[in-house]
């Protein structure tokens, strides 16, 4: 499969996967959170609640169809980059559908509960597999470094690192430390960032239900999310270890682009498997616990124990009174930052500015 066809196929898969997730998402949230608004758990089953859901899903289907058509059109017109427009259209359309549904739910919002619960035993904040499992991706990168060091003399003085859609190389690196080991450094930085994220999540997230069936399900969900992050670390480590070995292809006389189908396939299967795994548990493990624990003492809906007013557009959580760095997403699976926490901005700067800058510098030093 050509690189262009791979891109179009991958974008079509992405649109399909996101469409399925978007369709199912309202059913994945906690029973007393409906389109990011705290409601009585029974609201989503009322005629008003069902009407909001039907309208949301109609809008999702329309935007998925338009996005899919754009992707298909880009393939037929042999303009693979236009496939990204299809994904972008669907992403924007999904957000718009969610935002409108949230507006329809807000008049039915339940009063927030001010009750907070906590376990009276210390909580373990370990990563799945402990620190030993964290070493795997870095071991793969280190092994590639040792191998490249041993075959240094076999490496050509100049080798291709980027290819156009026509299969011709259009980016080169030289045989120096940055050019040869650069991908390994980048892989280590990115995998390390995922490890840091997982560690911060394990320590900086507030449980919503600390005890009982709901609490146990919530802990399983949390471990699941951390497990997915560790899986991403491994995927990144192995990917960049493989990328670092590409110069040896050039040494063997192969100048064409490396095959991406296998890597793309593994990545997409991992993404799909992780998505299905988390969707089956439901946000916060709610599908494991059923409706257990959806009400606080006094009968008020618990939601996620954060005020509705602190959720901007239902997506961004900003609460300076909350010491939690991460909270459960209200629409989606997983966690999001408390943007009022100073560490949230440090993390964003690290991941969105410092990390890309260092990666760019490494790449430039080796070209």
């Amino acid at each position: 499969m050509s690189a262009a066809a791979s891109i179009v196929t991958a974008q079509a898969f992405v649109v399909l996967l996101i469409a399925v997730v978007a369709w199912m998402m309202p059913a994945m949230t906690r029973p007393d959170l409906y389109f990011a608004v705290t409601v009585a758990p029974a609201f989503r089953s009322t005629p008003a609640g069902l009407a909001i859901l039907r309208r949301y899903r109609r809008e999702v289907a329309v935007h998925a169809a338009i996005g899919g058509a754009l992707v298909a059109g880009s393939g037929l017109a042999a303009r693979p980059l236009a496939a990204y427009a299809g994904v972008a259209w669907f992403g924007a359309g999904w957000f718009a559908a969610f935002f409108r549904a949230r507006g329809r739910v807000r008049p039915h919002a339940a009063p927030e509960t001010t009750v907070r619960e906590a376990a009276t035993r210390p909580r373990a904040a370990n990563l799945p597999g402990g620190w030993a499992l964290q070493l795997g991706p870095f071991a793969a990168l280190a092994a590639a470094a040792v191998y490249l060091h041993g075959r240094w003399q076999d490496l050509p003085g100049r080798f291709p690192i980027h290819w156009g859609f026509d299969g011709r190389p259009n980016g080169w690196a030289v045989r120096n430390a940055a050019g040869v080991y650069g991908p390994l450094w980048i892989g280590a930085l990115v995998a390390g960032s995922m490890g840091l994220l997982a560690w911060l999540l394990s320590r900086g997230t507030r449980p919503i239900r600390p005890g009982g069936v709901a609490g146990a399900a919530e802990r399983r969900f949390s471990r699941g999310v951390l497990g997915v992050l560790v899986g991403v670390e491994y995927l990144i480590g192995l990917t960049f270890a493989g990328v670092a070995l590409l110069p040896l292809r050039a040494a063997g006389g192969e100048a064409g682009p490396p095959g991406v189908a296998v890597h793309l396939g593994v990545s997409l299967i991992f993404a799909a498997a992780a998505t299905i795994f988390l969707l089956r548990m439901g946000q916060g493990g709610t599908h494991l616990a059923g409706d257990a624990g959806s009400e606080a003492a006094g009968g008020a809906p618990v939601g996620d124990r954060s005020p509705d007013r602190c959720w901007k557009a239902g997506i961004f959580y900003v609460n300076p009174d909350d010491p939690a760095l991460f909270v459960e997403k209200r629409f989606g699976i997983g966690y999001t930052l408390n943007f009022a926490h100073p560490a949230a901005w440090l993390l964003m700067i690290l991941l969105l500015l410092v990390l890309p800058a260092v990666m760019f510098w490494i790449a430039a030093a080796g070209s």
Binding site: T114, R116, A118, T120, R121, P122, G204, P323, A324
Partner: protein
């Protein structure tokens, strides 16, 4: 399980101290056990860490906890102090105030009496064991 109400008139640190004290008196936690760290409990309850620290300090001053840096709060084997007439009078006064507050909030007197009888039964059971 510790439960507080951030919307209640009672300060959060007092609710935390009262809740933990009730668990300690009921022997729900044994001497030598460790409580969550200040940071963890503050995170779980959604309060400032100083709020939890104040509650822990109060309980440490009463002899319930041993606070050590990096070891967290350890539950002590606290001997029951001899009761004083002042403590008994203070308890009676607070109970009267609590009952008056409950009546003012509309709780039926029969219900209040039933709750007091239940509490009395638990107290007698605890005294016997």
């Amino acid at each position: 399980m510790l439960r507080i109400d951030l919307g209640a008139a009672t300060p959060a640190y007092e609710q935390i101290a009262n809740g933990l004290r009730a668990l300690l008196v009921a022997a729900a936690m044994a001497p030598g056990e460790q409580l969550p760290t200040v940071r963890q409990l503050a995170l779980d309850l959604g309060v400032h860490h100083n709020t939890v620290a104040e509650a822990y300090r109060q309980l440490a001053a009463e002899g319930w906890l041993d606070l050590r840096r990096r070891r967290g709060a350890i539950i002590l084997d606290r001997p029951t102090p001899a009761s004083s007439p002042e403590a008994v009078a203070d308890f009676a006064r607070r109970l009267e105030e609590l009952i008056a507050k409950a009546i003012g909030a509309g709780v039926p007197r029969e219900r209040i009496a039933a709750e007091l009888e239940t509490a009395a039964r638990h107290l007698r059971k605890g005294a016997e064991s």
